[in-house]
Amino acid sequence: MRRGLIAWSKEQVPTSALDARVRRVQQALGAQRLDALLAYTSVARPAAVSWLTHFIPYWNEALVAVLPEGPPSLIASFSKRMHPWIREVSHVGEILPAPDLGRAAAAFVEKRGLKRVGVVDLEYLPWSVAEPIGIGIGAELVDASELFASLRQPADRYENALAVRAAQIAERALAAIRAGRGTPRRSFPSLNLRPGARARKRSFLESRRWAIAMRSNCPWPTKASGYGFAARIHWWRKRNPGSNPCFRVMRRRRAS
C-alpha cells in the first residue's frame, strides 16, 4: 500500500535528527564546490527527500533544495491547500507551489544565483525537471548520488530504530501468512454483490487466461500481466459467445 497512514511521530524522528542530516549535507556542499543540493521525490523515488525532511508524496512530485545555510526549501507540485498538510508531516522551511516543477525549480536556482548544483540520482531526474535548469538557465548539474550515499552513513539511531520496527512488522506479517491469517481470506459479509457480478468476474478471469495463453505467441519475450489485452479479449468474447478467441488472431494473421 503506497497510500496508507502518513504521519510524523516526533518521538520516532525528532526535528533534531532531521536538522542534523541537513547539516551533514550543508557541511559537504563547500568541500564539493556545490552551491546547493537538489533531491527529487515522487511515489516512485521518495527515499532521499524522506531522509532529509520526512516528506513523502502520496502523488505528484517535488524537489527539496538544500542551500549552504538555512532549512531546506520544498518546491512542490501540490496546490496551496495542501501546504498545511505538508507542514504537519514534514520538516521544511519555505514551501514553494510549483504547477510546473521544472520551471519553478529553474526560477529558484536563477533567483539565488546558483551555478553548480548537485543532484541526488541525477541519472533518473525527469527531463521535464532537468531541462529547464540545465539547458533553460544553464546551471551546471552534477551527480551527487555518491556524496549523498556517503552522507547517509552511518545511519543514526532513529533510522536504525525504524528499520528494527519495520523488520518486526514484516516478521509478524510473515507469521500471519504462515498461520493462514492473511487478509486474502477475509470476507465482507455486509457487501451484497450486484446480481451477476461474480459471473462477470469469472468470465473476465477466463478471458485473462486466454490472454496469457495467446501472449505466449508474443513477438517479444514477456510475461506481461496482460490485463489490457485481457480486457480486449473479454470484450470480443462477449460479442462472440462460445467462439475461440485464438481464431480471431489466426484469421488476422492469414489476412495479413
Binding site: 504521519a7 450486484r194 517479444w220 490485463y227 470484450w235
Partner: protein, 344 residues
C-alpha cells in the same frame, strides 16, 4: 509510428507513471525504472532497474536502464528514434541526441491514449463497479472512534481481496475547518463529521473514480443545504458531457451552479484544483477546467466532480465517472448521489 516516421520508440516508466508503457506493451512496473525500446516492426526490448521486476516481466535487468537504453539506441545508426514521455524520461537517456523528438512523440502517445477503444472503455466501466463496492465498504468502516487509516485499511483489504492491485485514495474528516482531502492520518472519526473520500481502484489496468461525502449521524440543515449545491452542480456537469462539448463546457456548467448560489469564489484555484479530469490508464488525465478546450468524443472516459470548500460546512465531494456516448454520456457509478448518513 509509421505515420510519424518513427522506427524505434523508447518509452520510459516508473511505478508512478506506467501508463505510457502499459498502453504500448501492456506492462506495469511496480518497482524501479523501466525503458521499453519498441521497434516499428514489432520487436521490443524491455530494460528494468529492478531484478525482481526483470524476473516477473521477463525483461532484461540492467543496473542503469537509461544508460543502457542510450547505448542501444546509439547502435541504431540509420533508424529514426523518438523518446517519450517527457515528464518521465530520465536525464541519462533524455540528454542524448534524440531529445528533440520528445515533445512530438509524447504528444503522439497522449493523443492515442485519449481516444479509447470500446474495450478500454469497458475496462473503466468494470473498475467503476468495483469503486461502487469499495465505497460501500468505506461506509461500513466509517464509525465513531475509528482512525482515518483504519478506514483506508478496510477498503484496501477489500480491493486486494478482489484481485485489485492498485487504488488511489484520499479522504478528509471533520467540519468547517477541513479544506481538502489528504492521505489517511491518525485523526479519529467523531459524531457529526463530514467524511469525504475519492476511491480510484485500478483492477485491470484502468482506473475509475467515485467521490462521495457521508455524515456520521444525522446531517444538519446546513449540511443538507450545502449538499444540494454539489448535487445540482454534478447533474449540470454530467448533462454537459456529450460529443463536441469541451472539458471547459463541463467545468462551466458545474461552476455556474455555484455562481448562481453566491458561491462563485469557491470554484477558484484557492479552494479547488479541478472540476473533474480524464480517467483511464492514468489516475489524473486532462483537467476539467473552464479554460481547457479539449473536445469530447465517444468512448472518452472522465470523472465529473464539483468538489470544493463550502464556507458553512467545510470541504465536500461528489463525483461520478462517465463514458462519452454517441449522444451524451453513460454514468458508470451506481452509488446513489445522496448525502449518506452512517450511524453515530
Amino acid at each position: 509510428m509509421g505515420n510519424a516516421g518513427i522506427d524505434v520508440l523508447a518509452i520510459a516508466a516508473n511505478p508512478w507513471r506506467s501508463d505510457y508503457l502499459r498502453y504500448a506493451i501492456d506492462v506495469t512496473v511496480v518497482e524501479g525504472t523501466a525503458i521499453a525500446l519498441v521497434e516499428r516492426d514489432g520487436g521490443t526490448r524491455l530494460l528494468l532497474e529492478s531484478p525482481a521486476e526483470a524476473e516477473r516481466l521477463g525483461g532484461e535487468w540492467t543496473r542503469s536502464p537509461p544508460a543502457h537504453a542510450a547505448e542501444i539506441l546509439g547502435s541504431f545508426k540509420a533508424k529514426r528514434i523518438a523518446l517519450a514521455p517527457r515528464h518521465c524520461l530520465p536525464y541519462a537517456l533524455a540528454r542524448g541526441p534524440h531529445r528533440e523528438s520528445m515533445v512530438t512523440a509524447t504528444a503522439m502517445l497522449d493523443r492515442l491514449m485519449l481516444y479509447k477503444l470500446p474495450a478500454e472503455a469497458e475496462a473503466v466501466k468494470s473498475a467503476a463497479v468495483l469503486a461502487d463496492e469499495g465505497y460501500r465498504v468505506f461506509c461500513d468502516a466509517a464509525r465513531v472512534g475509528r482512525a482515518e487509516y483504519e478506514l483506508v485499511a478496510d477498503v484496501e483489504a477489500f480491493f486486494r481481496s478482489r484481485g485489485c492491485p492498485e487504488n488511489f485514495m484520499i479522504l478528509g474528516s471533520g467540519g468547517v475547518e477541513v479544506r481538502g482531502m489528504h492521505p489517511p492520518g491518525e485523526r479519529r472519526i467523531a459524531r457529526g463529521d463530514l467524511v469525504t473520500t475519492e476511491l480510484t481502484p485500478c483492477p485491470d489496468g484502468y482506473y475509475a473514480q467515485i467521490c462521495r461525502t457521508l455524515v456520521v449521524g444525522e446531517p444538519t440543515e446546513a449540511q443538507r443545504r450545502a449538499f444540494s449545491v454539489y448535487l445540482e452542480a454534478l447533474e449540470a456537469g454530467v448533462a454537459a458531457v456529450r460529443p463536441g462539448a469541451t472539458m471547459g463546457d463541463v467545468a462551466r456548467a458545474e461552476n455556474e451552479v455555484f455562481r448562481r448560489r453566491g458561491l462563485g469564489d469557491y470554484v477558484s484555484s484557492e479552494y479547488t484544483r479541478v472540476r473533474g479530469h480524464g480517467i483511464g490508464l492514468y489516475v489524473d488525465g486532462p483537467a476539467v477546467l473552464e479554460d481547457v478546450t479539449l473536445v469530447l468524443e465517444p468512448d472518452m472516459t472522465l470523472i465529473v466532480h464539483p468538489n470544493t470548500y463550502h464556507p458553512e460546512v467545510g470541504y465536500m465531494v461528489l463525483g461520478d465517472s462517465v463514458r462519452v456516448t454517441a449522444d451524451g454520456c453513460e454514468v458508470l457509478c451506481r452509488t446513489p448521489r445522496e448525502l449518506i448518513c452512517v450511524a453515530a
